[in-house]
Symmetry: C2
Subunit: 391 residues, 2 copies
Amino acid sequence: MKIAGIDLFYLRMPAITPSADGTQDTLLVRLRTEEGLEGWGECDASPLVCIAAYCCPMSHGNIINIRESLLGETFDAPGEIRRLHAKVVRNGLDIQQIHHAYSGADIALWDLLGKKRGEPVYRLLGQKQAHAKTPYASVLFQAPPGATFQRACRLREMGFSAAKFGWGPFGKDAEMDEALVRAAREGLGPEAELMVDAGVAWGHDAELAREQAVQLEPFRLTWLEEPFSPEAIGAYAALARSNPRIPLAGGEGCGTVRAAEDYLENAGVSFIQIDAGRIGGITPARRICDLSTARGVTYVNHTYKSRLSLAAALHVFAGAERFRFLEYPLGGSALSRELVTDALDRAPDGLVYVPEGPGLGVNVSADCLRRYAVRTRIELDGGSIYESARA
Amino acid sequence: MKIAGIDLFYLRMPAITPSADGTQDTLLVRLRTEEGLEGWGECDASPLVCIAAYCCPMSHGNIINIRESLLGETFDAPGEIRRLHAKVVRNGLDIQQIHHAYSGADIALWDLLGKKRGEPVYRLLGQKQAHAKTPYASVLFQAPPGATFQRACRLREMGFSAAKFGWGPFGKDAEMDEALVRAAREGLGPEAELMVDAGVAWGHDAELAREQAVQLEPFRLTWLEEPFSPEAIGAYAALARSNPRIPLAGGEGCGTVRAAEDYLENAGVSFIQIDAGRIGGITPARRICDLSTARGVTYVNHTYKSRLSLAAALHVFAGAERFRFLEYPLGGSALSRELVTDALDRAPDGLVYVPEGPGLGVNVSADCLRRYAVRTRIELDGGSIYESARA
């Protein structure tokens, strides 16, 4: 197959707030082949900054944009998708945003290859069989704690056996934190898996985090996520050493393979959370999944976008039976709910089954692309170098 | 001082080639205060992708652009510049390009504070005295080896006691590599410090690099730079263990403080090369300089832009007497040579003295800003969100 076109779709809700809700806008990437096939991917990143990485003028041999690296390329096998990943990253060596931006295109390449071969992506990745995952509802804490309790009760009624609460009012005050986590535990019930996402609350302060972690021990957390700034590997390691009773999770911010390796090798985390929409797509995410297996760390997806991203995330580790948790965003914007429909709902047994259709196994709504489109145009010296694609 | 304006200047040469010459374009950042002072900084990065990080619409609480984070802020002390660095990085947690882009603004803040106080930046950083540095000429290898020999002879005539050759024809063929390094050594003479920049030639292949390094031993390299892809920390560590006779250097690609820490802690390098125009400015570069001191690794600047970047780089480690080498780009584009003139030339003793004037101690040519300007305009839904500044 020859790559004949790359189309970017910047979509957003009419109003954007500074909340931690990552579904308020998005960037979709559509790749078209000469023979007329289409593949889709999504970036969990700033749409405009990513668009710039697709069209920026060459600065020298290490700043060459993604469009230039991909257009006209041919690929017919998984190894070729890996070759293209290496090429794009090499050509964009000095474009810091390259991994965030390329994520959508890499995912679209796997989708295309699967469609061409009539196979689901997980199988192209060498996984013989897909295992259903236990979705954990991923929601935000709400103040006062009573509101978090209500939300947790609702999740229990909905049949979730696992849930993660995070961000929002958490991390500012120890007493409030304790009350919020207690409320979540009481609402979910004693049997449920409860995770807490601290939302980088404690910066680089391992000692403060240790005190908080001790306070949360009675609530038997499956993990404590992102207690620190993503760069604070030393603080992670110190906390892991000082309080091994609460397993740590982190890594969603990893924008390079090395950043994820660094977590695996040096942070002492028990769970590594990789977002295929940030680290450069399915190709590098899969590599981290393999490295995690080798190191005895549990791989989990990080996903807070549409079900297109969820499908991409799922194919990466579908075959790894012992990596059983799946981050499963609940709620989210109308945009994120309408973009892909009728896919990846929970089955009656409460699990999420990996799509067996070709490629990612999900379909993008053309209506949604039109409804939420942000027309984008970039001009240099009076000439256009980028204009939005049409749906 | 209150930040009243942020102006970006995308400049470029009429023709850009895919060579390793990083001076073919640039992005300058000018900050203006309410009281009418101006500070300047430069990014070693893709101008357009950086511009997007200054003006991209908010996506959520972790994707807030630099303009939004800085405009209207006040600062009057070094601690305030550090606070602003932390704020920008926190607000842009999910903008991968944030560090590359913010570099110029951080440098401009230090320039402003120095101008306000009538002090050179190095002193604001707590360094009592500046020590002159030994400039090493930073040039590209040329094929055939005879051309590299000529270039080396010329550097010797110019009085350079240290020179680094890199990129271009190097790293593709072992025999050619040996001939190129031999030519450089013969041209420079036996006493000179000779560094080789392998230009990420050997990817992740520590074994191949080891063979090459053995072959280069007779030429007594001060260091071998970037034998690997910037992400290949494991390969660096393996090479450092297997051939300790050739000191390794790396780190120019570090776009975050953690990436640099990772080099210091895990790569086994003897020299860490930090570009203040990529890692987020003088603030984080200075932190790495302190960490290097603590770990016994030699800090060196990476600079391949105009003398504005060179000045910023120099202030970071001006006070560290034992970090004596200064990367000193030679040649470069007309743009990079005309942007800042009459500054940082070598003194008659061959050394480079740190500017003692206020701020960075250099002046930007307004003519040059006009001559090489790229008019840039970004429109969303028909409205402009960014237009080039005027000089």
